[in-house]
C-alpha cells in the first residue's frame, strides 16, 4: 500500500511537471480583425491573441500560435496539428458534434447585414448575400430565401459588396464595425440578428477533457477578476456586451 501511495505521488509530481512544460499549440485564422490578424510587423495580434496569452499564463502553459486557413481549421484540430482553436468561432451545435468547446469568452455576437448606402432592405429576403464559407452566417443566409454566395476569407465578402457582386454581407457586427465606421457613409447596417450558439468559445478536441478543464478554469478566473471585461472593452469599445 505504501509503495502504491508513493508511486502515485511520484506520478502526480511528474504529471504536474509535464503540465508545466507542456506546449499547447493554438490555432487561429489570422484574417479576422480585431479578433485575430497579422499586423505589419508580421505578428499575429488581436483580442484573441491577447486573451489566449493571458489564459496560458494563468494556466502555466507554454503556448505557441499557429495560423491556419478557416476552411480547414476544424479538420486540422481533430487531426492533431494543433490543440485549440481561437478564431472568433461561435460554439454552435453543428460544430459541437465534431469538436468540443470551453465556456464562451465573448457573448453571442450580433450578426449584421451591411450594404452600400441606399440599398433597399428587401435584399435581405430576396437579394444576393455574401458570407464567409463554413460560418454561422452562411448557414443563416441559406435558411432565408436570399441567394448565398460564399467566400473563403472575410475580407472578400466585403469586397464583393463594394464591387456589386453581392447586395449585402452578413457577418459578425464586431468584425464589420471598423469597415462601416471608416467607409465615410459608403456602407450602412441594414439590420442585426442574434445568431444561434453559445457565444465565441475556444475549440478543443473532444478527447481533450483536461485541456478544456484547464482553460475553463482560466476563463473563470478572468471573468471573476474583471480582466476579461476590460479586454473586451479595449478591443471592441464600450458598447460590447460584457460578462456579469
Amino acid at each position: 500500500m505504501k509503495k502504491l501511495t508513493l508511486s502515485l505521488a511520484v506520478l502526480a509530481i511528474s504529471a504536474t511537471g509535464a503540465m508545466a512544460q507542456q506546449v499547447v499549440r493554438m490555432g487561429s485564422e489570422g484574417a479576422y480583425p480585431p479578433f485575430n490578424y497579422i499586423n505589419e510587423a508580421n505578428e499575429l495580434v488581436g483580442f484573441e491573441i491577447d486573451l489566449g496569452n493571458e489564459l496560458c499564463r494563468r494556466a502555466e502553459l507554454t503556448c505557441e500560435w499557429v495560423i491556419n486557413d478557416w476552411d480547414t481549421i476544424i479538420p486540422n484540430l481533430v487531426g492533431g496539428n494543433y490543440d485549440t482553436i481561437m478564431a472568433g468561432m461561435n460554439a454552435t451545435e453543428a460544430r459541437a458534434e465534431v469538436i468540443s468547446f470551453t465556456q464562451a469568452y465573448k457573448r453571442p455576437d450580433p450578426s449584421a447585414y451591411m450594404a452600400l448606402a441606399g440599398t433597399d432592405p428587401s435584399v435581405m429576403e430576396s437579394g444576393v448575400i455574401a458570407a464567409q464559407s463554413n460560418t454561422i452566417q452562411s448557414g443563416m443566409v441559406a435558411d432565408t430565401d436570399a441567394t448565398l454566395i460564399e467566400f473563403p476569407t472575410p475580407d472578400e465578402t466585403i469586397a464583393a459588396v463594394r464591387s456589386g457582386v453581392a447586395d449585402a454581407v452578413l457577418a459578425d457586427r464586431d468584425f464589420l464595425m471598423t469597415y462601416q465606421s471608416e467607409s465615410g457613409g459608403e456602407f450602412v447596417f441594414l439590420d442585426t440578428v442574434i445568431p444561434p450558439g453559445a457565444g465565441i468559445s475556444m475549440g478543443v478536441r473532444q478527447s481533450d477533457d483536461d485541456l478544456r478543464a484547464t482553460f475553463n478554469a482560466a476563463i473563470d478566473s478572468m471573468k471573476a477578476d474583471g480582466t476579461l471585461n476590460a479586454m473586451l472593452i479595449e478591443w471592441f469599445g464600450d458598447d460590447t456586451p460584457l460578462f456579469e
Partner: protein, 293 residues
C-alpha cells in the same frame, strides 16, 4: 526599415510607399518567392529521378516491377492532382505518427482514433509540439515536396518511357551487333539519344509544375499567393498602413512573376533542345546539319 517610417499617418506619398513596401509582412512576401523557387528546384530533380525509376520499372523484364511501374503511373495520372496534394501529406503525416506512437508508447492503452480525433502520445508527435515553429514549417514544406515529386514523377515516367521507345530500334540492334550487353546498349546508345524525344514532354511538365506551385497555399504554406491575398485585402484603421482593396495590383504582380518565370524557362528549354538535337536523326537534327553545311 527607413528612419522616417516612425509615423506612417503623416508621411508624403513616396515615403509612405517606401515604408509600406518594406514592412515585415512585405519582406515575408518577397521571401515567399524563394519558397516557390526552392520547391521547383527540389521537386524537378526528384520528379525526374522518380520518373526515371518509373520508366525503368515499366519496361522491366520482371513482371512485378512492370506491375508496380504501371500501377503507379496510371493511378497518379488517373486521379485529379488536387486529390493527391490533399491526400499524400495528410496520409504520410498520420502514418508516420502512427508508427512513432506504436514504437515510443507501447503501453498506451487508449485507441488512436477516438470519434473524430486522431490522438497519439506526445512523444509520437512529429514534429514534437515543443519544436520551434521553423521545424513545423520545414516539415510542412517537405510533405508538400513529396506530394509534388510523386505526382510529377508519374507524368515524367510516362514521358521518359515514351522517349525510350522512340529511339530507333536500328540503333539498339547495331549496338547489339557490336557485342554490347543489353545494359551497355541502354547506357551507351539508348540513354544519350532518348533525351531529345523526352524534352518536349519534360519542358511541358516543368511549365505545369511552375503553374502548380500556388497549390502550396492549399497545403497551408505561406506562398506568394497567400501573401498577395493577405496584403492586398482592405486594411482598416487597425493597421498602421490602412488602404482599400488592392488585391488586383498584388495579383498583377504575381501574374508578372509567373510570366517571367515561364518565359525564362522557355528560353532555357529552346537552347537545350538545340544542343540535344545535334547529330540526331530527327527533323531538328537534320535542320541543324543543313544549316551547318
Amino acid at each position: 526599415m527607413f528612419s522616417f517610417c516612425t509615423d506612417p499617418a503623416v508621411l508624403p506619398d513616396w515615403q509612405w510607399f517606401a515604408c509600406y513596401l518594406t514592412t515585415a509582412t512585405h519582406f515575408a512576401m518577397y521571401r515567399s518567392v524563394l519558397v516557390v523557387l526552392l520547391l521547383m528546384a527540389l521537386a524537378a530533380p526528384l520528379a525526374l529521378g522518380l520518373g526515371f525509376l518509373g520508366a525503368l520499372a515499366m519496361r522491366s523484364a520482371i513482371a512485378p516491377f512492370r506491375a508496380i511501374g504501371t500501377v503507379y503511373v496510371s493511378m497518379v495520372r488517373g486521379v485529379p492532382d488536387i486529390i493527391f496534394f490533399l491526400f499524400v501529406p495528410l496520409a504520410l503525416d498520420q502514418a508516420l505518427e502512427y508508427v512513432l506512437h506504436k514504437w515510443r508508447c507501447p503501453d498506451w492503452s487508449e485507441p488512436i482514433r477516438r470519434g473524430n480525433d486522431f490522438v497519439v502520445c506526445a512523444q509520437a508527435k512529429f514534429p514534437l509540439s515543443s519544436s520551434p515553429a521553423w521545424i513545423h514549417d520545414v516539415w510542412g514544406f517537405t510533405l508538400a515536396l513529396i506530394a509534388f515529386a510523386l505526382v510529377f514523377g508519374a507524368f515524367a515516367a510516362n514521358t521518359l518511357h515514351g522517349a525510350m521507345a522512340a529511339v530507333p530500334r536500328a540503333q539498339i540492334e547495331t549496338a547489339e551487333a557490336y557485342g554490347m550487353t543489353p545494359a551497355q546498349a541502354f547506357r551507351r546508345v539508348l540513354l544519350p539519344q532518348m533525351w531529345v524525344y523526352a524534352l518536349p514532354g519534360l519542358s511541358n511538365l516543368w511549365m505545369i509544375l511552375t503553374k502548380a506551385t500556388p497549390l502550396l497555399f492549399l497545403l497551408g504554406i505561406q506562398d506568394i499567393v497567400f501573401w498577395a491575398r493577405e496584403l492586398g485585402g482592405q486594411k482598416t484603421g487597425l493597421f498602421a498602413y490602412p488602404h482599400p482593396d488592392w488585391r488586383v495590383w498584388y495579383f498583377l504582380g504575381v501574374l508578372c512573376f509567373y510570366l517571367t518565370l515561364t518565359w525564362v524557362s522557355q528560353r532555357v528549354f529552346d537552347r537545350l533542345m538545340t544542343a540535344l538535337s545535334h547529330g540526331q536523326a530527327t527533323a531538328g537534327g537534320e535542320a541543324l546539319r543543313r544549316a551547318g553545311a
